[in-house]
């Protein structure tokens, strides 16, 4: 039987990768320390596979065909796109997958569960997956089952679906017949804006939202998080804040328990999320 050995939620801001890979600027020391802390924590958990919930930013998926939720089940996957290399210095690489677990999460022989997932046999991961992986597992040596959520092209699934996704993933992982130590990772933002009037303010576009968001994770408050993250409320927080919903999936995947570590680390890019749930 597979078991979830830990749940983590982190930022995937690609400017963080561009800023930190050549050394740590003094104002990002706390971010670097949090990534180091998470990396050491992950190494200590000895995960055999990572089930990762993240949101493609129009690199693999475009509005001609936009699934709400999609699971990748390829044995290996490209990660990093040419325009991300151009913009962020993010080099294209390969990441191993886990087709057996991916197929199981889809439902097995039948797509017979409460989630009518789309699937991909040739997913190509973008920075929303790759940046957290590079910080958490620098060797990229742990297979990944990518779970794509649409947080960038409205209509976006309601928050309750992200909570249900977390519960579903926890149950499905527990029912996988083979032994696997599974780490669940969520990738997203707190209040964040890009391509709008409040982009690059040098601080969070909505500190009040960030404070509440961190407290939902710290208190294990799934209901509070779901009740306060409508599309309109997230837009008020910033027009790229929808990917906070992936952390609601993390919270639910951890059974709704309080996070042992929950922080919105202040930076010139806004408050960056770092969450960790311990399962034992």
């Amino acid at each position: 039987m597979a078991e979830i050995v830990g749940v983590i939620g982190v930022t995937h801001n690609p400017l963080m990768w561009a800023s930190l890979r050549a050394g740590t600027p003094p104002d990002l020391a706390d971010v670097a320390a949090n990534f180091d802390r998470m990396q050491a924590h992950v190494a200590g958990l000895h995960p055999e596979v990572i089930v990762m919930v993240a949101s493609d930013h129009f690199h693999m998926l475009m509005m001609a065909n936009m699934p709400a939720f999609l699971i990748g089940k390829a044995p290996e996957m490209r990660a990093g796109h040419p325009n991300e290399q151009r913009a962020f210095g993010l080099e294209t690489t390969m990441v191993a997958g886990d087709p057996e677990l991916g197929a199981h999460l889809l439902g097995g022989a039948d797509l017979a569960n409460d989630f009518d997932f789309s699937f991909s046999d040739e997913p190509w991961l973008d920075h929303s997956f790759l940046v957290p992986l590079l910080f958490l597992t620098p060797g990229l040596d742990i297979p990944v089952v990518p779970v794509f959520s649409n947080c960038n092209a409205p209509p976006i699934p309601v928050a309750a679906r992200f909570a249900a996704l977390g519960t579903y993933l926890a149950d499905a992982i527990a029912s996988f017949p083979a032994a696997r130590r599974v780490l669940v990772v969520g990738s997203g933002h707190l209040a964040h804006e890009l391509g709008g009037p409040r982009q690059f303010l040098g601080e969070s576009p909505d500190p009040d939202f960030d404070e509440k968001a961190v407290s939902w994770m710290a208190r294990g408050d799934v209901e509070g998080a779901v009740a306060s993250t409508s599309f309109l409320r997230l837009t008020e927080a910033g027009n790229e804040s929808y990917q906070f919903l992936n952390f609601i999936t993390c919270l639910a995947a951890g059974g709704g328990r309080p996070a042992v570590f929950a922080e919105g680390t202040p930076t010139r890019f806004g408050n960056l999320p770092f969450f960790s749930w311990e399962m034992t």
Binding site: H57, M62, H81, A153, L194, F200
Partner: protein, 113 residues
């Protein structure tokens, strides 16, 4: 429909170095070619499309505020603006401030497609 086409154009320009280079070199010629591609669709994901006159004018003028007001996807719009305008037309700091100023009067337009 057309909001999608603006997004599709920005997406196709930014995703490949060749497309970006030819868009920057001769935007009108690129757009003519892009519109003609839509007449020769290759399944299942045809390249090219059609823009309204207003959309085409905003694209040719690099009028990011107008595209924002039309409901272009903010993420795609920012990627497109940065790739097209920096560094040849302006530095990143100038783009950040001019983009912010041009978007501000329009608040938060509906950008669903």
């Amino acid at each position: 429909m057309s909001r999608y086409m603006v997004n599709k154009l920005m997406w196709e320009v930014d995703r490949s170095d060749d497309a970006l280079a030819s868009f920057k070199k001769d935007t009108a010629a690129f757009l003519d070619d892009w519109e003609s591609l839509a007449e020769r669709p290759v399944p299942p994901y045809p390249d090219g499309g059609h823009l309204t006159d207003g959309e085409r004018a905003a694209v040719e003028a690099r009028d990011y505020g107008a595209l924002y007001a039309m409901g272009a996807n903010p993420f795609l719009l920012w990627q497109f603006a940065r790739s097209v305008s920096v560094p040849d037309e302006m530095g990143i700091d100038d783009l950040i401030s001019s983009f912010r100023e041009s978007a501000a009067p329009h608040g938060y337009p509906d950008f669903a497609t």
